[in-house]
């Protein structure tokens, strides 16, 4: 309590209600690093999951080694290793979107790390689909890739999305680690404020912003899950029920539609 009463509320007020241009750019970096890393992480995870299920043993081993290393070592170590080993390029998309080289490094490290976690999630999703689905698709003349794309993955998505949402929630918070290699994202911005004033209120304000990001994501995730449930069975839970489920694991279990 003492800390809160003694807090310099003025700083927090300013950081929340009067964010400047520098802050806006930092927020934008956090958002796109999260989104791009997660998207690449899902793609990597899908490739690794398919490799894991391959008939070719070397592909299975490669997939196993990948997960073993990147789940078994700290993300921060991976970020520093990639930062100090590879020269990553910067990118410029149109007039307004420039990705500095350090951010590319960050995206690279975060997505490779994320892919290792996504592999397990995607594999579990695919495994949850009855074997008969693949057999039915094949008996209709579909090839493996087509059956995966049109029959298996759309069904697996319903199983994959909830843990994927948790992963993305983590991803947004983990982006703060790339501040250590000089990316000026949300946390770097807060840290700069702190360095100038030695006031820890900057960290309360930045925590608020992370909380906003993850909260908005909760809503988006609930919406996506509702869409998936709808296309699956022609029945749906209300957005309120989905949100309840997202916030409360017991609710998720009880509220889960039964097959």
């Amino acid at each position: 309590m003492h800390v809160l009463v003694a807090a310099d509320w003025h700083i927090i007020w300013l950081r929340i209600f009067h964010p400047g241009n520098v802050f806006a750019r930092a927020l934008w970096l956090t958002v796109y690093i999260s989104v791009v890393s997660q998207a690449l992480g899902v793609a990597l995870g899908l490739v690794a999951a398919l490799m894991r299920m391959s008939r070719l043993a070397p592909l299975r081993w490669l997939s196993g080694i990948y997960v073993w290393i990147f789940r078994g070592t700290p993300l921060l170590v991976q970020i520093f290793f990639i930062y100090t080993t590879f020269n990553t390029p910067s990118f410029q998309f149109g007039k307004f979107w420039a990705i500095p080289a350090e951010a590319t490094t960050g995206i690279l490290a975060l997505s490779i790390n994320e892919g290792a976690y996504m592999r397990e999630i995607i594999r579990a999703g695919i495994d949850s689909i009855d074997r008969g689905q693949m057999e039915a698709a094949k008996s209709l003349g579909m090839r493996y890739g087509q059956a995966m794309r049109r029959i298996i993955l759309p069904q697996a998505a319903r199983v994959i999305v909830p843990p994927l949402g948790n992963e993305f929630n983590n991803m947004m918070k983990n982006t703060s680690l790339v501040f250590t290699i000089g990316v000026y994202e949300l946390f770097a911005d807060a840290n700069a404020g702190y360095s100038n004033t030695l006031k820890s209120e900057y960290f309360i304000a930045v925590a608020f912003w992370y909380l906003m990001l993850t909260t908005v994501w909760t809503f988006i995730q609930a919406w996506i899950e509702r869409r998936l449930a709808k296309s699956e069975r022609g029945e749906e839970l209300s957005l309120r029920e989905r949100l309840g489920a997202a916030w409360n694991p017991a609710g998720a279990w009880l509220g889960a539609p039964h097959r």
């Binding site: 039915a136 094949k138 008996s139 209709l140 003349g141 090839r143 022609g234």
Partner: protein, 254 residues
């Protein structure tokens, strides 16, 4: 002599150490309805799964419409065929599963049009009108936009039959199509299959429904322990079976 659609010679198949098929040979001619009966574990399901290469045979050969299934000949030896060719052969063979295996994320109509559009490359409206006709024929004209989860077992199996027919197969395989159904809906599925039989569809039906075999089959085959031990007309089978094992089996089941 009528045209042979399916020709199997000396088919062997093992799962690990367990030999499930011990040399099965069988011909099915065009327009014929063949029922395979036999106790569970006799290899009848495995055999029809081999016909569209859902199971890989260890030796012997299976041909459908004169094409080797799952393998091709190279320097006098059989090697497994490419995925593309295996898939192409399967488009000519319809399969109906015990557990329906409808695509739950697609409506009844979409289940039926899926493969004609995305495998055969048919135009969507053409596939749709054919699919509607098929669903009407199996008595589901009012369920076009219903998802499988909202259909009864019997309705699902009828959609599955329409789905297989939509490919215009020259051979239909039924793997115990009524075993997973409640007794009161078995009839609606069997009558659809009977109608197909009357219309001259070439088909192989693995079944425990002796009444159906008696009524719809042109020929019945009895399998036991990985071998065909007796074959003949339904009259022969149900009136005067010769093999001791067949007599035993029929007396238990009838």
């Amino acid at each position: 002599m009528s045209e042979v659609v399916m020709h199997a010679t000396d088919v062997h198949k093992s799962f690990g150490k367990l030999e499930v098929l011990k040399g099965v040979s069988l011909d099915v001619t065009k327009g014929e309805t063949l029922c395979i009966i036999g106790p569970s574990g006799s290899g009848k399901t495995t055999f029809i799964r081999c016909i569209n290469h859902l199971e890989k045979i260890d030796s012997g050969r299976i041909e459908v419409n004169g094409h080797l299934i799952g393998y091709r000949e190279r320097n006098g030896r059989l090697v497994e065929d490419s995925e593309r060719n295996i898939a192409r052969r399967r488009t000519e063979i319809g399969m109906v599963f015990q557990r329906f295996n409808l695509f739950p994320h697609k409506t009844a109509l979409e289940n039926v049009t899926e493969a004609p559009v995305h495998v055969l490359g048919q135009k969507k409206d053409q596939a749709t009108s054919f699919a509607k006709a098929l669903l009407e024929r199996v008595g589901l004209a009012d369920k076009l936009d219903t998802y499988p989860g909202k259909l009864s077992g019997g309705q699902q199996q009828r959609v599955a039959i329409a789905r297989a027919l939509a490919m215009g197969p020259s051979l239909m395989l039924f793997d115990e199509p009524t075993s997973a159904l409640d007794p009161e809906v078995t009839g609606e599925v069997l009558s659809v299959i009977e109608e197909l039989a009357r219309a001259g569809t070439t088909m192989i039906v693995v079944t425990h429904e002796m009444g159906f075999a008696r009524k719809a089959a042109n020929r019945v085959v009895m399998m036991d322990d990985g071998l065909i031990i007796e074959e003949g007309t339904p009259e022969h089978f149900f009136v005067d079976p010769t093999h001791e094992r067949t007599k035993q089996f029929l007396s238990k089941i009838l």
